[in-house]
């Protein structure tokens, strides 16, 4: 059943994307291990940078799955991303063992100097990778489940949902800032030494982490593709386009929203967990509502309702950010980002990829005329107009 489910997703385009991602995932780390004099040598800096972009791309993909395909504009996905990151961070903290500055075999440094006497219960188990791996998926999934179960059942939709997801991540931001929470307060978790026994800063480990990110993105893409290609995916789009209609033909919409929201949260959690070892720190700043909104703009730039769009958007915007925040342009970054938000919503409502796709579609097909209104807009308008 699962294989059939996945198999259905495999069309030619999916092969291309998967192939490309895996090629990048294997080739770049290999090239980074070459001698710097080698003409195709890739500096570690680039690996670290693109590794981060890949994690962001996976986050964008997860946002797109709920927003682009189901019409749920979540402004709280940074929370799931950060929770996944924290789960990984906790594992990495426990791996430090007695090599912390205070040489305490059990307690992480920040607990030592704040006079904690024993490990809080919620840190138990994180010394095992398998446990952390489960938590990376389970914690964001559980939060999404609880939150979604209440919200979707009470039919909180549209802007209300966006605003309370924002409130959710904001509340978590404040909570994780508290030192009493036992997650290192605003400094977060850092100073990681190794992962699964390998030095986390070794070029080879970096390469593997990079590959893992590319692989996770490829898998995320494949899963999204399979979901979209299934009847489930059709129902999602149906919910996005006309929620009431879907209810009146007998689909329990809240169930669908819940499943896709939880799936998306889990993907975001995985993205966060791969992000943390590559960046080397996780702190409450990752919960900031602004981060969620930025992830949404990646999707909007790339094109929501397409699966390539969010990946392209995340890469484009973050490349722009890297480029703009260096040198003389530094002061203008926020102008550019702000203008991008405005321009995309005004002139490119379908995003870069969406626009390209629409143009490509308009040319060869004769059976269908191009849609006058973007269905997404129509559905959102219908949703909000009610």
């Amino acid at each position: 059943m699962i294989t059939a489910f996945i198999f259905r997703a495999l069309d030619r385009n999916t092969y291309i994307v998967l192939g490309l991602l895996l090629a990048v995932g294997i080739l770049l780390p290999l090239l980074s291990l070459t001698d710097p004099s080698f003409p195709l040598h890739v500096p570690t800096y680039v690996i670290a940078l693109i590794g981060k972009y890949l994690c962001y791309a996976l986050l964008a993909l997860s946002v797109d799955l709920v927003w682009g395909y189901c019409g749920i504009l979540s402004l709280g996905h940074a929370a799931f991303f950060a929770l996944g990151g924290y789960a990984m961070g906790m594992y990495l903290m426990r791996q430090i063992g007695a090599r912390g500055v205070y040489a305490n075999p059990i307690l992480p440094d920040f607990m030592v100097f704040l006079n904690w006497n024993e490990l809080p219960w919620f840190w138990y188990g994180f010394d095992h990778f398998w446990f952390a791996a489960i938590m990376i998926i389970a914690v964001p999934g559980l939060l999404a489940f609880v939150f979604g179960w209440f919200a979707f059942r009470s039919r909180v939709t549209g802007v209300y949902l966006s605003i309370i997801t924002q409130a959710m991540t904001y509340a978590l931001l404040l909570a994780f800032f508290r030192n009493d929470m036992g997650f290192g307060g605003n400094n977060g978790l850092t100073d990681f030494k190794d992962i699964l026994g390998f030095n986390i800063q070794a070029p080879a480990t970096r390469g593997v982490l990079f590959f893992a990110s590319a692989l996770a993105l490829a898998l995320g893409f494949l899963i999204c593709r399979a979901v979209i290609a299934s009847k489930f995916g059709k129902v999602l789009i149906a919910v996005r386009d006309a929620e009431s209609r879907t209810r009146f033909i007998g689909y329990r919409v809240e169930g669908y929203k819940l499943v896709v929201f939880v799936l998306s949260a889990m993907m975001a959690g995985v993205a966060g967990s791969l992000y943390v070892p590559q960046i080397g720190i996780i702190n409450p700043g990752e919960f900031a509502p602004a981060n969620s909104i930025e992830a949404v703009i990646w999707v909007a730039v790339g094109g929501r309702g397409t699966l390539i769009g969010p990946i392209v958007g995340a890469l484009l915007v973050n490349f722009g950010k890297t480029w703009f925040t260096s040198g003389v342009l530094a002061e203008y970054w926020l102008f550019v980002l702000g203008a991008l938000f405005v321009a995309v919503t005004l002139f490119l409502p379908k995003g870069v990829v969406g626009t390209l796709l629409a143009r490509a579609k308009a040319r060869p097909t004769s059976t269908s005329a191009p849609a006058a209104v973007s269905p997404i807009e129509a559905s959102i308008a219908a949703e909000e107009g009610a």
Partner: protein, 542 residues
Amino acid sequence: MTTLRPTKPILAFIIALLAMFALFRPAYGADVHPQVNALGQGDYAALESAITALAATGDPAAAAVLDALSNGDLYVRKSDGAVFKAVRAGDGYALTDLVTGTDAGTAARSDVTKIKVNNKIRGQIRAASGSLTLMNPDPKLRYAAAADVFKSADPAQIPLLDSVIAGEKDTGVKAMLVQARAAAVLKSDMSSDEKVAAVAIIAARGDQDALAILTGAGAAGADPAVKAAADAAAGSIEGQLQLWNGVQNIWYGVSLGSVLLLAAIGLAITFGVMGIINMAHGEMVMLGAYTTYVVQEIIRTSYPGLFDWSLAIALPLAFLVSGGVGVLIERSVIRFLYGRPLETLLATWGISLILQQAVRTYFGPNNREVGNPSWMSGTFDLGHLAITYNRMWIVVFALGVFAVLMLVLKRTPFGLQTRAVTQNRPMASSMGIRTPYVDALTFGLGSGIAGIAGVALSQIDNVSPNLGQNYIIDSFMVVVFGGVGNLWGTLVGAFTLGIANKFLEPYAGAVLAKILVLVFIILFIQKRPRGLFALKGRSVEA
């Protein structure tokens, strides 16, 4: 204060004696220049004794000299060690002779050194000049002096107080003096009957200060009768203060609520009435605050006399600036996005980034100073509740803005058109209402109100490019909690959240209180997705 440093009682005693002399109006004549100049010699310890000596002369100029010293206006001329009052004039200082009050020429910056004071010296000066001004003709000053004496509670001053009380006509000042005397009595070694009487006087105050004095009086080692009386009085005050604590929480909640209301009320129009998720709302508030700053800067440099009017002048300007920017945003961006609220969210978020960075580039990233006009500074007591003027005015102002807005929306043709357009755009347009015009003006109104909220918030918060960011989430919470499209909901929502927050704060701490309120709102929205005062209606099915 249980441990008295040696200088103080001596000083007070001398002052007391001199003050009694003062009642008999003896003639002065001695030149106090040496005593004044002594202030400029040596370290803090030397300064302390110099102050004592100066006060001991009882010269009428002494109070003014001490006042200037406390304000940090006294300078020593390096060449001859003479002490002057100096004010900045050009590159140097203009000097004034302290005794004669005559102009004493100027000095270059490097020629004079400031006489530094610290808190301890300031306290000493306050006690000294408190005693010196107990006979000032101005009852307000006398009252303040009596309050200072009450705080210092020095037994050595009892004789002085006795004589002053006898001559005092003003009942308010007199009551204060009596309390000051009682406080001093409790510190003295007078009879226990006297002390029990003093306990009763202090207990009548019933406030935190009284409690502190009574706790001190009831400390171990006190006379059993005094201790019993003090403990009983302290107990009853504590009970009363507990009650006042609740009142205080409500007031703080109302005050926080008024800030939330101000921040949210513009949003209640742009979001609540028009359905635009204006993430740049906070920046409209910020622009209002910066307008206040600019107005004050101009007033400071050109028309210093108008400073107390600065907020009144800033109000209409802030409304125009923020409103104008709002209209501009509406015309250039938002009008293309009607019916797509989620898109307005993204676009206005972009605008908010641009506005923030624009302000940061133009004004710099630092906080800007916005002063409180005199009528917004200070505190007054209502029972045992200390109400600060700025908070009070902000509550009044928030309610005023709310009332005016209600009037505009309910009683003017513009309000009627706004409601018509937001309820049924095509119908309104076919009835001859110029909907684009109304849209722009409504958005401008919402933004303008955010701007005047900025004027008020500049009085209690930072004026920095980030100002708006601190309010945006709270504002949305208030509007959503209160019920979108319902201004009364916003009013009730703001005060409910404010009071809830302030009641939680003492128990949970500020951080947890805020988290709890957020969680509460999230849960509440699940229960009532359309907020407190949502309009029920037949679902218009798509």
